[in-house]
């Protein structure tokens, strides 16, 4: 009996000692469950579809100036995305911990890179973010803390990036807060974009992943610059008031322009009441119609 009690005691101690209290293991390959925002994460959104984005006037003006052809400029083809690409891209995640060589404690968590996104290294050792005049890059600088069993990562010092792949931009002053929540073999990642330059409120996207035994590749095949039809020196853009696709969502789906142009109020259910008299259900849905009879 004494021996059994000792065994139970040791087992209990082991359970509470490893891993450290409140931390959970996030390492592994996490297969994306792209059951939401599939258009955005697949072929890409329609032009001037910014409904649900909390734009301010500057954010809307910048988006309206955007021509998709700008990404085919030779110097922008292999343009890296910010860490927001985790939210808006389709890919799976691979995560691992980097231990401190002396203490063995987790010094950093790493979210592996994709073809057009650098790895996210989440420093867990309490180091401060760089000063406000430190250089920015597409990777940014990320630190993390545990809140119970939730890892909260804060990314600053990024460069301008995209929020939605149709011209909605984030600025270099933006902060991305990424919440990693594991529930058994399910991982939920919630990303908050706070941008004082282009947004009036945080923009939030969530994603879900299943733990997988199929290893997720770290990085992707290299991006190679090539002629995509935009000659060197030309900068595709639309001047103010000249974006030809402002009424695209109205033509396709009967969605009023004021909804398509975004703004914080378009994020909330009450907005549907405001535009209900302006919404005209098309006689036939012709694009991305799910079960509505189109394609």
């Amino acid at each position: 009996m004494t021996s059994n009690k000792l065994s139970f005691g040791l087992a209990a101690l082991l359970c509470v000692s490893f891993p450290a209290l409140a931390e959970i293991d996030l390492s592994g390959s996490w297969a994306a469950i792209n059951h939401e925002d599939s258009l955005e994460r697949g072929g890409g959104p329609n032009p001037v579809d910014w409904a649900g984005l909390p734009f301010n006037e500057a954010g809307r003006a910048k988006a309206l100036s955007f021509s998709q052809s700008i990404i085919s400029m030779p110097e922008r083809i292999c343009w890296f995305q910010t860490q927001w690409h985790i939210a808006a891209g389709p890919f799976s995640l691979r995560m691992w911990a980097v231990p401190d060589p002396i203490t063995g404690k987790v010094q950093a968590w790493v979210v592996g890179a994709w073809e057009t996104r650098a790895p996210m290294t989440i420093y867990m050792d309490g180091r401060p973010h760089p000063g406000k005049n430190a250089p920015h890059d597409q990777t940014g600088f990320t630190t993390g803390v545990w809140n119970g069993n939730e890892l909260i990562a804060t990314t600053t010092h990024i460069k301008t990036g995209y929020i939605r792949r149709n011209g909605a931009a984030s600025s270099d002053q933006a902060t991305i807060t990424t919440h990693f929540l594991r529930h058994g073999d399910l991982l939920t990642v919630a990303l908050f974009m706070d941008d004082p330059v282009y947004l009036t409120e945080p923009y939030i996207l969530t994603r879900s992943y299943n733990l997988s035994t199929n290893p997720v590749a770290i990085g992707g095949p290299p991006c190679i610059v090539g002629d995509e039809g935009v000659e060197s020196g030309r900068v595709p853009h639309y001047l103010p008031g000249k974006n030809p696709f402002v009424d695209e969502m109205t033509k396709l789906y009967g969605i009023p322009e004021e909804a398509a142009l975004g703004g914080a109020e378009t994020m909330y259910p009450e907005f549907r009441e405001k535009i209900k008299d302006k919404f005209k259900l098309p006689a036939k849905c012709v694009k991305n119609c799910a079960n509505a009879g189109g394609n």
Partner: protein, 128 residues
């Protein structure tokens, strides 16, 4: 139904770790509901990531050369469908059907269908 299928395909590709992703939005780049046919000679085949491009040369009404950039799948995507880097060579005469770009200045298409009459080779399909 096609949308549901699209979701399943995207989900499946993601789980397999296949890198099939446009660096830009197709819907914002191309007039997806329109088709355009070009009969021309191949100038260059860029078998690459994030997407391959087939460059074709035609002439306008005044006889000036125009280079068309036809966007196609990533190298791995095309390879899995039998299209290799040497499948198309400069000088091949081809007939291409594609969705035209929204910006006419770009002279670009998104590939839908390609045929090479000289030997009957063809490809038809879609890609992300």
């Amino acid at each position: 139904m096609k949308s549901k299928l699209f979701v399943l395909v995207v989900a499946g590709l993601s789980m397999l770790g296949v890198r099939a992703y446009a660096h830009h939005s197709f819907a914002s780049t191309y007039l997806e509901d329109q088709k355009m046919t070009i009969e021309a000679d191949v100038l260059q085949f860029l078998y690459r990531n994030p997407h391959s491009f087939l460059q074709l040369q035609t002439k306008d009404a005044k006889g000036n050369a125009i280079t068309w950039a036809v966007e196609w799948g990533a190298g791995a995507q095309l390879g899995s469908k039998g299209v290799q880097r040497d499948t198309l060579r400069p000088g091949d005469h081809v007939i291409v059907i594609g969705s035209p770009g929204r910006n006419p200045e770009d002279h670009r298409l998104r590939m839908i269908d390609i045929k090479r009459p000289s030997d009957g080779w063809s490809w038809k399909g879609t890609f992300d």
